[in-house]
C-alpha cells in the first residue's frame, strides 16, 4: 500500500516536471506551464467562480446519480429475480446500455427543457443502465446452494430476498455503482456543454473558445479531481458494505 502510494506520487511528480519544462520551452499558449495553470486555478478559486460553478455541477451530478442508483438497483433486482421482468426489459436495457447516451440529449431537451431537470436526466441516463445490468447479474449469480440452505431452514421468499439475495449481490451492485459514477461524471460535463452552458462545462467551453488555456486546464484538472474523488467515495462505501469480499480478493 505504502509503496503504491509512493509510486503514484512519483508518477505525478514526473508528469508535473515534464509538463512544466515542456511548457516553458514551447512558450506557447497551447501548452501553458504547470505553474501558470496553478496560478489560474488559484485565481478561479479565490474569486469564487470555480466554487459556484462547481456546486451547480455537483448538485446535478449527485441528484442524477442518486436517482440512477435508486431506479437502477430496483429495476436490476426485479430483472434478476423475475424471469418475466428480465425478458420484458432486457432488450431495451442492453440497447440503451451500448448506445451513445449523448444521442438522446436532444430528446431530453424536448422533454425536460433547458433547465436543471434536463441535466439531471442526462446524468441519470448515462449512469442507470450499467447499474441495472450489474445488479441483475449480481442477483443471477447468487449461489443456489445458499438459497436452498435458507429454504431448508424454513426461510420464506421475503427472507430469502433480504437475507440471501441482497447481501450476496451487493459486491456486484457496488461494482455497478462504481462504473455508474464514472459515467455520471461524463454525463454531467456532457450536459453542461451540450445543453445549456452551465457549471464546469460552461467554463470549459468558455476558456476553450477564448484560448485561455491556463484556466481551461485548471478546470479540466478540477473535473479529473471530481472523477477521482467521487470514485473514491463509492469505493469507500463498497469497502464498508462488502468488506468480507475485499478480504477474499486479497488472499
Amino acid at each position: 500500500m505504502k509503496s503504491r502510494f509512493g509510486t503514484n506520487f512519483f508518477s505525478l511528480l514526473s508528469l508535473a516536471l515534464l509538463w512544466e519544462v515542456t511548457g516553458r520551452a514551447m512558450d506557447s499558449t497551447l501548452i501553458p506551464p504547470l505553474s501558470q495553470i496553478g496560478a489560474a486555478w488559484w485565481k478561479l478559486l479565490s474569486s469564487g467562480k470555480l466554487l459556484s460553478n462547481l456546486s451547480m455541477s455537483l448538485t446535478t451530478l449527485v441528484t442524477g446519480f442518486c436517482l440512477a442508483v435508486l431506479i437502477g438497483v430496483v429495476v436490476g433486482l426485479l430483472m434478476g429475480r423475475f424471469r418475466a421482468v428480465e425478458h420484458f426489459l432486457d432488450l431495451y436495457v442492453n440497447a440503451l446500455m451500448s448506445a451513445p447516451s449523448t444521442a438522446f440529449v436532444p430528446v431530453l431537451i424536448l422533454w425536460f427543457g433547458l433547465g436543471v431537470e434536463s441535466r439531471v436526466a442526462v446524468v441519470f441516463l448515462f449512469a442507470v443502465f450499467v447499474i441495472i445490468i450489474n445488479t441483475m447479474t449480481g442477483v443471477k449469480q447468487v449461489d443456489t446452494v445458499l438459497v436452498e440452505m435458507a429454504r431448508s431452514f424454513g426461510a420464506r421468499e421475503k427472507e430469502i430476498f433480504f437475507m440471501i439475495i441482497l447481501p450476496a449481490a451487493l459486491p456486484a451492485i457496488m461494482a455497478g455503482l462504481r462504473l455508474g459514477m464514472g459515467r455520471a461524471v461524463k454525463g454531467m460535463v456532457t450536459a453542461e456543454m451540450l445543453l445549456t452552458l452551465t457549471g464546469i462545462g460552461a467554463m470549459i467551453m468558455q476558456y476553450g473558445s477564448s484560448f485561455a488555456t491556463d484556466s481551461l486546464f485548471a478546470v479540466i484538472f478540477t473535473v479529473l479531481l471530481i472523477a477521482l474523488l467521487t470514485m473514491k467515495a463509492v469505493q469507500w462505501l463498497d469497502r464498508r458494505l462488502t468488506g468480507w469480499k475485499a478480504e477474499i480478493a486479497i488472499e
Partner: protein, 276 residues
C-alpha cells in the same frame, strides 16, 4: 448371509420415524430444446427408526442427494409417499436440518452469525440466539473462531460450523449430504469421530449420504446400498459393530473389513447389472 453378518432387505420396524414408501422421481432435462425425461429414483422404500444412524451409499448420479432433499421437503416427489412421524412431507420443517456438502455458509457473516442464521429464521430473540449459537459452537470446538469469516477457516472447520448451524435448531432428524466429501482424508476421519461422539450425546436420527464405504460402515447402524440411475435400493445391511466405536480398533476389526468388502461387491454387482 456373509460371515455372520445380518443382511436384511426390508426391515419391518414397528414404529419407524421416517417412512419412504415406493418413492420415484423424474427430472426433465432440456438440451437444445430437446426435452428428455431422466428417471432419478424408482420405487424407493425405506424405513428409518428413531435415533438410528443410517447411511445411504451409491455411485454418483444414483439420486441419493435427491432422496435426501425430498426427505427434507426441498423438492417434491412424483410417486409414493414420504412420512415423518406418520405425517406426509410437503415442505421443510423444524424437525429436520440439513448439513450441506459445500458447507453453504454465508460468506458475509461471521461463524457466530452463520450459526445464528438458522435461529433467526425460527424467530428466536437476539440474546437467546447468540447464547444458543455459542453453546453449539462450543460443542463442535469452534468457540475461538466465532468472529472469523468462513473463508478464514479450513474446510473441516467450515463444516463444523455447518454442523453447529444444523444442530442449533435442535432437529430430531439430521440430514447430511456427503458432509465430509470436501475435506482432506485426515480431517475427514477426525470429523467422523466427532460426529459419532455428538450423535451419542444428542441422540438424533441421522440420515447420512456418502460414497465412502468405510465411512458408511464406521458411522452407521445400517447401510443402504443404491443402484445407479434410476436409483433403487439394492440392499440394506446391518452393521453389527458395538458402540461406542473407537476409530482405530473398529477399522482393524475383521467384521469392519468384511462388511466394507461386502458393500464394495454389492456396489459392483449393482453397477454391472445396470443397463441404462
Amino acid at each position: 448371509m456373509l460371515n455372520g453378518l445380518n443382511v436384511l432387505n426390508n426391515l419391518n420396524d414397528s414404529n419407524p420415524l421416517v417412512e419412504i414408501q415406493g418413492v420415484s422421481k423424474s427430472f426433465h432435462k432440456t438440451v437444445k430444446e430437446h426435452t428428455t425425461e431422466v428417471k432419478a429414483l424408482a420405487d424407493v422404500s425405506l424405513s428409518i427408526r428413531e435415533n438410528e444412524f443410517i447411511s445411504i451409499i451409491g455411485p454418483s448420479g444414483c439420486g441419493k442427494t435427491t432422496l435426501l432433499k425430498m426427505i427434507d421437503g426441498l423438492i417434491p416427489y412424483d410417486g409414493g409417499k414420504i412420512l415423518i412421524d406418520g405425517k406426509q412431507v410437503t415442505a421443510p420443517g423444524p424437525d429436520r436440518a440439513v448439513v450441506f456438502q459445500a458447507f453453504a455458509l454465508l460468506p458475509w457473516r461471521t461463524v457466530l452469525a452463520n450459526v445464528e442464521f438458522s435461529l433467526e429464521l425460527r424467530r428466536l430473540p437476539k440474546e437467546a440466539r447468540t447464547k444458543t449459537a455459542r453453546d453449539y459452537l462450543k460443542r463442535v470446538g469452534l468457540s475461538d473462531f466465532e468472529n472469523h469469516y468462513p473463508h478464514e477457516l479450513s474446510g473441516g472447520m467450515q463444516q463444523r460450523a455447518g454442523l453447529a448451524r444444523a444442530l442449533a435448531v435442535n432437529p430430531s432428524i439430521l440430514l447430511m449430504d456427503e458432509p465430509f466429501g470436501a475435506v482432506d482424508a485426515q480431517t475427514r476421519q477426525l470429523l467422523q469421530e466427532e460426529l459419532l461422539e455428538l450423535w451419542q450425546r444428542e441422540r438424533k436420527t441421522v440420515i447420512f449420504i456418502t460414497h465412502s464405504m468405510d465411512e458408511a460402515v464406521y458411522l452407521s447402524d445400517r447401510v443402504v446400498v443404491m443402484t445407479p440411475r434410476p436409483g433403487k435400493v439394492a440392499e440394506i445391511l446391518d452393521v453389527p459393530l458395538p458402540r461406542p466405536r473407537v476409530s482405530e480398533a473398529v477399522r482393524r476389526d475383521a467384521k469392519f473389513v468384511d462388511l466394507t468388502n461386502y458393500i464394495w461387491e454389492s456396489l459392483k454387482k449393482a453397477m454391472e447389472n445396470h443397463h441404462p
